[in-house]
């Protein structure tokens, strides 16, 4: 059975259809990239898979759990157990330093452990920036803090929404190499949204969305 199963998902807003019956299966440990123009529905689909948004109809199953049937609090608990998020704008709590931002995810999961959080930051190459606030870090460094935070609770699914959207090519490459390394070591599943053709080539599979539908699903040819 696939690790992520999306069945006939429709997402309607008052004036628009964001998703028009999307079905998708993602295998465990797979790295899937979603590409498409703005407004194609890729971020909406990612949010629905991550339980941050709910579908108007259809179902989403992750690791055999039907998440569309979970209450908001159960979804929050499921999310902290199974899912890690990386956003385009490196959403970090501005008044907490790097290690505290990582520890925040631990605190919501169970108990915060500073040593473990420092190791996570060391894994993303930030052992020298542990006590720096987000405003004292570069965009690339902030995204690496986000990776450390997303992975601190050992999730089985990493969802990334335009994680390199604000980075230059060099920082994008550094971050993707880091993700590849961590993916090969920790074996989590990645679903990554991007509109950058350079980024889309780093995964194992690529789907293309347009107007709320998947119009293409193919393996990545390196």
């Amino acid at each position: 059975m696939s690790f992520v199963i999306v069945r006939d998902v429709i997402k309607e807003y008052e004036t628009a259809h964001a998703l028009r019956g999307v079905s998708l299966e993602v295998e465990k440990r797979q790295w899937l990239n979603m590409v498409g123009p703005s407004g194609s529905g890729k971020s909406t689909l990612l949010n629905i898979i991550g339980g941050l948004d709910s579908p108007s109809s259809g179902s989403v199953t992750i690791d055999s759990t039907g998440i569309d049937r979970l209450s908001e609090d159960d979804m929050a608990r499921f999310r902290r157990e199974k899912i890690g998020f990386i956003f385009q704008q490196s959403h970090l709590i501005p008044y907490l330093n790097a290690v505290e931002n990582v520890m925040l995810a631990q605190y919501f999961h169970s108990m915060s452990d500073e040593k473990e959080a420092m190791e996570a930051l060391a894994r993303v190459g930030l052992s020298h920036r542990i006590y720096h606030r987000p405003s004292q870090l570069s965009g690339g460094e902030q995204q690496r803090v986000c990776i450390a935070r997303a992975l601190i609770n050992s999730p089985s699914l990493l969802l990334a929404d335009e994680p390199t959207g604000n980075l230059d090519r060099e920082n994008t490459r550094v971050m993707l190499e880091l993700l590849r390394k961590l993916h090969s070591e920790e074996h989590f599943t990645i679903i990554l949204v991007t509109h950058d053709p350079f980024v889309s080539k780093w995964g194992q599979r690529i789907i293309t969305m347009e107007d709320g539908r998947i119009i293409q699903d193919e393996p990545v040819h390196v």
Binding site: S43, D73, H91, Y95, E100, L104, Y107, V193
Partner: protein, 414 residues
């Protein structure tokens, strides 16, 4: 971690936090100072109301043949000091005995039968085993009596009520005959009551003159009392033992009257209801007003905290959305806000406590002209009020925070 979040969150929004702490401190100070005043108001207002006059009357008990025949009965003067031996002795602020007699007076050839009353104006009663004397006399129960001239301190001196003096043309310094004996009018008395038609002389001299040594007709008592409540109106004869003990040991005017009756031989006591009830009603209304003002102060303060916290929440929407996306469920979000409220409440409560002490003293001095006793209860009351304000103030922000949709606030392009 929670401590870190709160600490950093406070440092990050200093102005908002200071505003909330100030709001809590002011509300707490208002509520705690009013509560302190309300705890003391009974005693202070009761003391103020004592200027209304005596609230207990002690008379000889008339029963059996004496009652039927109309035979004159008296109380024993020696029992007066016993009023300072009862359970509520410290609440007896004033006591004044009166001896009522009738005499024929003759002024400038006009004869009339008038009431001649013996009383003390201001007398210190020695109490057995105590160095300090107990103040007794008219001044302690009816301080508004006005004498133009002097209270009669000699055996041949009297004061005449103003109406009687006007009717008989008596002036200060005039001579008159009472029961064939010559007296000098040392003053004219004005009370606005029946006393204006009577003649007054010193109690001891009248007892001697009328051969009624050691006897008094009635005694007025001014006592600090607990306002009458529903329980106080219950007939003591129908009370169970514990009820009776509670009634007896509460300073109701009825229970103090009962205890006085027990020490005055052959007496019956009557609360002077127009005074006792007025006190109760005034106190009840004052208390109600205070509690009402407390409620308003607490609600206004909570509203201030709530508004500031909502304003602060609007700036923290991304943060809350991020926390939810990172796995914070409702309980974690509530914990963060309530903890912030708790810290604001504790700091605001301590500041409010300091302000309340000063405010209570100020109000006490301005309103009652006396300091308010510092109650140990004030600190927990202040902290409790502050926590109520700050936690109540977090309810609306929490509700709004729980409604935040992470997908909306963290929306990326797509």
């Amino acid at each position: 971690m929670l401590l870190n979040i709160i600490k950093r969150s406070f440092a990050n929004q200093k102005k908002a936090m200071l505003l909330m702490i100030a709001s809590v401190a002011v509300g707490t100070a208002m509520a705690a100072s009013l509560i302190t005043i309300s705890l003391e108001i009974s005693g202070k207002v009761s003391k103020e109301l004592r200027s209304f006059g005596a609230n207990i009357l002690i008379e000889p008990r008339l029963e059996g043949l004496a009652d039927i025949s109309g035979q004159k009965r008296y109380l024993r003067q020696e029992d007066i000091v016993k009023s300072k031996t009862i359970f509520w002795r410290h609440n007896i602020l004033g006591i004044s005995p009166f001896l009522d007699t009738e005499s024929e007076i003759s002024v400038s050839g006009v004869k009339e039968t008038v009431r001649l009353v013996g009383a003390w104006y201001e007398k210190g009663l020695p109490l057995p085993g105590e160095a300090k004397e107990f103040p007794a006399g008219i001044k302690t129960v009816s301080p508004w009596w006005y004498i133009e001239g002097q209270w009669p301190d000699q055996a041949d001196k009297v004061v005449a009520g103003t109406s009687l003096a006007a009717r008989l043309g008596i002036k200060k310094g005039d001579s008159l005959m009472i029961d064939g004996k010559g007296f000098v009018v040392s003053g004219i008395l004005e009370t606005g009551g029946n006393e204006d038609n009577e003649l007054y002389m010193d109690l001891g001299h009248l007892q001697e003159f009328k051969n009624l040594s050691g006897r008094v007709s009635r005694v007025y008592v001014s006592a600090l009392t607990t306002p009458m409540d529903k329980f106080a109106y219950k007939d003591p004869k129908t009370m169970s033992r514990p009820e009776y003990e509670k009634w007896y040991c509460t300073g109701y005017v009825t229970s103090i009257a009962k205890q006085l009756e027990e020490v005055f031989y052959g007496s019956r006591t009557k609360p002077i209801w127009q005074v006792a009830e007025t006190e109760g009603k005034v106190l009840e209304r004052l208390r109600l007003l205070i509690y009402f003002l407390c409620g308003i102060a607490l609600a206004a303060s909570a509203l201030g905290v709530s508004t500031t916290m909502i304003m602060s929440l609007l700036r923290r929407i991304d943060e809350i959305g991020l926390m939810k996306a990172t796995g914070a469920d409702s309980s974690k979000i509530i914990t963060i806000f309530v903890s912030e409220g708790f810290v604001i409440g504790t700091i605001g409560g301590l500041l409010g406590y300091a302000l309340a002490i000063a405010a209570a003293q100020y109000i006490g001095m301005k309103v009652f002209n006396s300091a308010v006793e510092h109650k140990a209860l004030l600190l927990p009351v202040a902290i409790g009020s502050a926590l109520v304000i700050s936690i109540a103030g977090t309810i609306l922000p929490i509700r709004r925070a729980l409604r935040i949709k992470p997908a909306v606030v963290l929306k990326g392009a797509g």
